[in-house]
Structure formats: C-alpha cells, structure tokens
Symmetry: C2
Subunit: 255 residues, 2 copies
DNA sequence: TAGAGGAACTTGTACAAACAAGCGAGCACT
DNA sequence: AGTGCTCGCTTGTTTGTACAAGTTCCTCTA
C-alpha cells in the first residue's frame, strides 16, 4: 500500500518539476493543501517534509515555503548500486570480474565484517562503453557463496544478490576523497599512473545491521561526480538532479 | 526555546555515544521511551526520527529500532563553512586572501547569481599550519561590499558576514569530484602539477532562496575526506563522525 | 522434527485539536 | 519619510486516539 502522504508528495513534486511552482515562488500553505487534498494538516506536513528532505523546497517557521530547485530528484538512487544509478540516469553500463579470491581478513576488515574468511572481488565497470570504475569489494563470509555463484559479467550485483538470497543493502557509510591512480588502477582505467581518481570507500549492512561488504571504488576523474543538497535548518538531504547533456562525459552520482 | 523532541533526541544520542546502547543492539520501544520521558508517542517518534536521519539508528516497520553506529555525529557541520567545520573538529586553521577583484559574470555565473558585477576571491586555507584548500569563490553583487570590508586573513567568512550584515547561508548545492592540480593550485598547495585534488563546487542561497555565492574549492589529496551515511528506506541523511587519531593527516568533512 | 498458524509487540499512517513562535504587511505615530 | 507596533497568517511543537502493517516468537499440528 502506498501512503497518502507519499501520493501528495509525488503530486507536489510533479507540479514543481512541471513548472507550476517556479523556483523562488511560494508553495501553497499547509492549510490550503490540506483542504485541496481533503487530508489532515499532519499528513500534508509529512508530504512537504519529504520535499524539504530532498532539497526541493525550503521551509522556515512563519514564512511560506519556497521552491528551491526544479531539478529532477531522481528519487532514491542509493549510493550502493552502480547499476541502479546508471540505469536511472539512462546510461549504458557493464561490469566484469577481473579477479576473485578468498582470504583471511585484515584487522580492519574483521572489525567490520567479522572474523570469518572474506571474499575479495576486483571488478571493472564501464559507462557508455568506457571503463570508469575500479571496484575492490570485500564480502563477509556469509554472503561469499552467493557472490561466487554470480556470473563474471553480472550487471547488477545488488539486484542479483536480492534475487538469489533476498539480500537487501539497507544502510551504508561512505567516505569520499581523491587519490592518485596506482599501477593497477591506471592499467584498468586506461589513464596514466598518478592521475586523479575519485574514491568512495563504503561499508554496507542489512536491515538488521549485519555487515555485508566494504568496498574501495575508484572513479576516473571527469566521469562521475557526487552531488548533494543540504539545508541548514533540519533535514539534511541527499539525492539530486542529473543533467548530463551540458557536459558530456561527466556524470553524477546522487547522494 | 528548545523543542522537547530535540532534548529527547540529544539524550538518546548521548546514551548511544556513551555505549549504553551498543552497535547492533535494540533501542527501547517508542512506548517505553514515551513512558520514561512522560511524553506522547508522537514526540518520541520525532526524536528518534532525528537519529534515524543522522544515520545513527536504523528503523523498519514491525521491528525494534537498532543502533547502527556509535560515531560522534559531530552534529550539523554544514558543508558551507571551512572554519566551522575545522573548529568543530578541534583543528588549528587559518585563511588568507590571495587575490580579489570585481568583474563581469560569465554566462553560467549570471544564471546563478544574477546579472550584476560579481566579486571573485581566491583564498588559501590552512589546517594544522599546512595549506590544504584553495578556494575560488564568486559572490553576488549584493554581498560584494560586505565581503570587501573583511580583513584579508579573516578566519571565518561565514561568521563574519553573519555578524556584519546578518547573512545566513541556508541552502546549498554541492558537487564533488576529483581533478588534477593546475599550475596555480600546485604552487599554492605545495604539490606537483597534475597531482590529485578533491574538488567541491557549491552554490549557496539565503533563507529566501536568494543566491549568495558559488565556489570551487580544491583540497589537497589525503588531507580531507567527505563522509556520508545513508539508509535505503526513507530519510536520507548526512552528517557524520570524525576520528582523526587513527589516520593522522587525514581529516573529514561531515555531510 | 519441521512447518503452519496465530498472538503479542512494534513501527507506520492518519486524523483532530490546541498552542507557540516567527514572518510580513499594513497602520499609526513621530 | 521613516520608525515602531500590532494583527493575521503560516509553520513548528505537542498531545491523544485509532487503525494498518510488519516482525518475532511461541504453540500447535502433521
């Protein structure tokens, strides 16, 4: 079942994206929205809270809410799945396992994933036919068998693992910085050694908080950017717009 | 006045950070928290929603909430102010204007800041005495006079502008990627040309949605990292922990 | 013993009502 | 003309209630 407030939020979002509420203009008051939708004020409030969290709308006590952006908030776009992100952006993409082996975890890894043997996988991902991402993922022992059963050119590991064992990546922690390309990075991505790469290190867990994997992902510079919207008051946010047409070859990851 | 749910959220956060609710354990149910604090369930719900948004707690229908992390969520830590971030992390920091001039805006700039003349400022920021950040900021015409009145070694532009004209940076949009250091970057940061830099491009606006500035900030690799927590369900989140002791020379920016 | 079924618990959604607090416009006064 | 104040509007906070929906665990049955 879809919640009422979700429907109202969707409708408002559509109106904003369609230009019915231009950037800088005021949104209707909660009272009016409530009357229009025949809903209680609390429900309407929950709806606009969604938009505020998305960074589409700004809110402060006493003043009407204003529209901050009309960019298509490509909805969820979790940070976890390269495939889901690429697909949402309408990109062609692919992936290939380069290397895969079991080994004992390092101290840092066992602290995050547990004591058992881990599975390390090196994947190369392509976007529009170009190699853009080197992914070094370390899986916890309990998911290792399922990962090993995947084909080497599996497009979406996230989706494949969901189909296979019902695994859901629910929570994630991410660290983003820049590093110089190493020898292997350079060879796989087709760039010079030492050239800049955008690195995303992450650890993900299930609903229950059970650790699944940690990963070190490195993007070729100029191919992908992370994008964030935030507001001072309360709900920070994450997620955001994509418009690739303006600068070909540069893509964005929604946060 | 501080809201009740904020107080409850603070108390819960402290408990988690203090280890009273270890990572992976269950939080008390809403009913129990309500009884304990003598508050209505709705209020408690709002409190835990804050923690969920911070990524400290995971939540799903039917099951008790679980603790996901015990990292010190250095609270707000807006993406806007280098000074505020550095101070919250207990760092020594400084800043120096290298160059400053008025000029006509480019097409992209006037689309974001308006048609008037803009003020471009080049600043070099230091952390622990080391140069780590080159900041190229373009201010809209209406803030230019106030910015020009600031001392060249102003520590916190954000705070200085607030004190001077009551300006509040309320909303921001950020784009994060990696670039190679240019000639000027290399000279200022003391690195080789072409070495990796972490770039953050941002546009900020006031409460009312009035554009204030756009900036291109470049961090020396290995000095700063961005950190994000997110969850699949709903509330994205932003903000996160800092622990520098483990990897000296590497710092984090809370998102 | 394995699996189905169900009861108790817990979080999610929705409505209603009241007051607090901040904003903005218009008004009166200087 | 400019200043300060008040009043209405709008968002923020809190309480209470009811039901929906998902989880967990125990029990009963085949």
């Amino acid at each position: 079942m879809v919640a009422r407030y979700e429907l109202i939020a969707d409708e408002l979002r559509e109106e904003i994206l369609a230009g019915a509420h231009p950037v800088g203009s005021q949104l209707p008051s909660e009272a009016e929205l409530a009357k229009r939708h025949g809903a209680a004020r609390g429900t309407v409030r929950q709806a606009v809270a969604v938009l505020v969290a998305e960074g589409l709308v700004g809110s402060r006590q006493g003043a009407r809410r204003i529209v901050l952006g009309a960019a298509r908030s490509q909805s969820f776009a979790e940070l976890h799945s390269f495939a889901q992100w690429a697909r949402a952006g309408g990109h062609r993409f692919g992936g290939q396992v380069i290397e895969q082996r079991r080994r004992r975890p390092s101290a840092a890894e066992s602290a995050r994933l547990g004591d058992g043997e881990v599975l390390e996988v090196l994947r190369l991902r392509t976007l529009e036919g170009e190699p853009v991402l080197v992914e070094r993922t370390v899986y916890a022992e309990w998911v290792a068998p399922a990962v090993e059963r995947l084909p080497a050119d599996c497009e979406s590991v996230t989706e494949a693992l969901y189909d296979a064992i019902g695994l859901v990546f629910a929570y994630g922690e991410h660290l983003i910085d820049a590093v110089a390309a190493g020898v292997q990075d350079a060879r796989l991505l087709g760039v010079r050694r030492g050239s800049p790469l955008l690195r995303q290190r992450r650890t993900t867990t299930t609903h229950e908080g059970r650790p699944v994997e940690t990963s070190d992902d490195r993007y070729r510079a100029g191919s992908v950017a992370f994008s964030i919207r935030n507001s001072i008051g309360a709900n920070p946010l994450v997620r955001q717009a994509i418009d690739l047409r303006s600068r070909p070859g540069e893509h964005m990851f929604d946060l």
